[in-house]
Symmetry: C2
DNA sequence: GGGATGTGCAACAATCTGTTGCGCAACGCA
DNA sequence: TGCGTTGCGCAACAGATTGTTGCACATCCC
């Protein structure tokens, strides 16, 4: 989140003094409302007025807590992006299938369908959103790579293959369909796709 | 283009009567200006005022020729998307390398870097832009599939592989890097990627 | 040549972003 | 408990942008 990150250059947080409870409350409520609306509207259609209305916080107060719309939306997107770890199922194919279905469900959900594509567009000329997008990609990639790391440990695949690269090839066609071609990400596709990835991992 | 397409439901074109030269002139000039600005600014930042200024056509006249901003931008995007066929080089790998470099150069260019990501965002809640995006994806896919079809004819790969599917796996990782992860699409990546695709085609 | 049609211009409403000043309420420290 | 500090709601504001409209003028086509 923007206001809890000590690394970002913009310094809205005063430091280590505990936050005024009014401020903490305001920021929490606003980000929650923004995240909800982000899932309903996407970045472009989402107005600060609607966030103010849903959260019950005045627009002027929102501007006192975030420098501009994009930074708030980046925080809201972070809020939206919580995904579970893939459990160890003892089999790479099973884990890939589970993850593929989780991702497919996500991409089919209104939340992601509204938030993700508009993020892609908006991120290309805003630094805060670029960061939010990079963090999203990185998290998903790491979470996917774990599957291939475990498979290598089990001896299911040769350890010569880079788990991170395999994770990239796992994610790319699904996002490509979602963002660019709009082809369905259905069971047939998933099953065939997993076959391709398994071939790649075992080659 | 919106105004020359007989299939689209919206009927701005009066039919087969030749267009008033004033109208033809206006539309041509405006789309050209819009396409140029699209490559410079992207969808979100591009204003109708700037198109009016660059084209020398009044904003009111633009609105008389296109129902709204999105439809004009869809036409402008079409204008921007002209890509060459891949020549028969007698070798699948050579042709893939050529196409990958063409695509990488495109994605590195300001034109595409500005237009494409913003299209992804904008297309998700506008029908005209959805169509423009679908057409773009389809054209590129067909153009890529030709490489695999020729390879199958030459006997370089088994004809069991679906050229269209291979085209999808060829494009997806490059667009994924461009749109989502922002990782570089450099020579190393291209070379490794072509290796992956060749493996897929030959499996 | 003359009616029909397209264009430029200017003004307009509506929406949205971002800012500011003021009065009031909540906070935290003594 | 009291009081200075700080945050908040409200209202108004400037500026940008999208679309729309009426009118005068130029161009087109018959």
């Amino acid at each position: 989140m923007w206001f809890t990150c000590e690394v970002t250059p913009s310094p809205p947080d005063d430091g280590d003094r505990p936050l005024d409870p009014r401020v903490a409350q305001t920021r929490r409520i606003v980000v929650e409302a923004a995240a909800a609306l982000l899932g309903e509207e996407g970045f472009e259609r989402l107005t600060l007025e609607s966030i103010a209305e849903r959260s019950g916080v005045a627009r002027s107060t929102i501007y006192r807590n975030w420098p501009d719309r994009a930074v708030l939306l980046a925080d809201a997107f972070d809020q939206l992006c919580v995904f579970p770890e893939v459990p160890d199922l003892g089999s790479m194919v099973d884990e890939l299938r589970l993850l593929a279905e989780e991702l497919a469900n996500g991409l089919r959900s209104d939340e992601w369908a509204n938030a993700l594509p508009s993020l892609v567009g908006a991120a290309h000329h805003d630094e805060s959103l670029t960061q939010a997008q990079a963090q999203f990609s990185q998290r998903r990639r790491a979470m996917t790579a774990v599957i291939f790391e475990r498979a290598a440990e089990r001896g299911e695949v040769s350890s010569a293959q880079d788990p991170s690269l395999l994770a990239e090839y796992f994610a790319a066609p699904m996002f490509f369909r979602f963002l660019m071609t709009r082809q369905p990400i259905d069971d047939d596709f998933i099953e065939r796709h997993i076959g391709v990835i398994v071939d790649l991992a075992k080659r």
